[in-house]
Symmetry: C3
Subunit: 184 residues, 3 copies
């Protein structure tokens, strides 16, 4: 089963688009969050997002061991939405993990996940001025390299602007092919 | 009549593209500027831009009350080019207006404007590294949410890079369908 | 012979894409680098990039006099990959050259280069928040204006995200039309 990469900027509607894709793709979707609800404010935001998602979604938080979590979740979910890779990279950097190696593990594992469709959401961050901050430059390079690597593995890649997809690879989606509300 | 959203980066040629769209779409186009000519330097820039536009354009400045100005202008102009939404959001933030509410008023009013085609130009600002500055993050979130909301309302959405459109929604435009010079 | 403009963000895969285009377009490709190997670290990086390129590429460094170098190189190479325009603009700014004039010279010379296909690679930098730094704003404006001007001259313009092209002008390329490995 082909996997999907959904790229987009901040507040581009990429997560909403990926949720609609996931609802269309499977009956038992899992929302795999790489964000951690570490404080009250964050717990509130996570809770709000959870309420906005269709009730068919189950939710799991995994900030670091993404590949392991994906393999396990594939046993019980036919579609898994990972939101998002850039936050995962941030978490890996913050805990001194080898990002390139973790991404390679993910890229190697994805083709072996055949019973679930994995939808990876990530922030495109490389289209502004070169940041002054060296850590920001490192992060930007890692995010770009990660997107290139996973775009090779995925069968479908979409770039979302203003909530609307541009298809870079795979089946060309238009607003009308994705937007229709999903019956309960 | 369907309305149009034109997104693009800084110096992407989005305004020039929108001007050519407007010339094609109507006989009495209005250029509705959200910028204010507050000082001599700005007045000089505005004057220069005005001279570069086709003489068929009338010009109006409205930094805040955009929806009211649009409704009034629709009585006398068959096409109205709004340049640009991001500057309007900046003006609203600077005067402590409720941006989300103002955007919702605009989104509600647009479908009732049936005698004019409205072409909205806006800066895409969400594809770089997360800004350090909290106000810049707020602005970026508001711009992204505004684009998503208005992309739902508009019948045509284009993303302009290097002066060339990628059509996200509606009639697919190519360079050749838009670029031909308009007779006087 | 039509020339090509390849735009993309940091680590978007734009250079790799342009190298594959160049391998397809000619037998004696030249890699014309605008970067200078001024110190040991930079020499190491340039050497590494050189090793990763197909051995069919010859290499030339020219940080400033790009148009003169292109005209001369066109006599002996059927395809010339310029990597990249944004670094060239940085070099021109750093040596107090008139960037707009240098770009106009390039735009005027390109149509006269008929025996080689020129593939210009450049960074799209205008899709983030307005930079605080005035020099960064100037650079961003110059890069955007340069892309617009050269997009008019080139027959093909591509915008690369995650290693995959979106065609803005000319022959629509898909991953499969470009990615196949080139025989030695």
């Amino acid at each position: 089963m082909g996997h999907v990469l959904v790229l987009g900027g901040a507040r581009s509607g990429k997560t909403g688009f990926a949720e609609r894709l996931a609802m269309r793709a499977g009956e038992q979707p899992l929302y795999l969050a790489t964000a951690q609800a570490l404080d009250a404010e964050m717990r509130e935001r996570v809770k709000l997002h959870q309420q906005q998602r269709h009730k068919r979604f189950a939710t799991l938080e995994e900030p670091i061991a993404l590949t392991t979590a994906l393999k396990a979740a594939a046993k019980s979910h036919d579609v898994i939405l990972v939101d998002c890779l850039t936050l995962w990279i941030t978490n890996l950097l913050g805990t001194n993990h080898d990002v390139a190696r973790a991404v390679e593990e993910l890229a190697t594992a994805l083709p072996t996940i055949e019973t679930s469709r994995v939808i990876l959401v990530s922030n495109e961050v490389g289209l502004g001025i070169v940041p002054d901050n060296p850590l920001a430059r490192t992060f930007r390079d890692l995010a770009g390299a990660t997107h290139q690597r996973l775009a090779q593995i995925c069968t479908d890649v979409h770039f979302v602007v203003a909530g609307l997809p541009m298809t870079l690879k795979g089946e060309r989606l238009t607003e009308s092919s994705v937007l229709p509300p999903v019956a309960d």
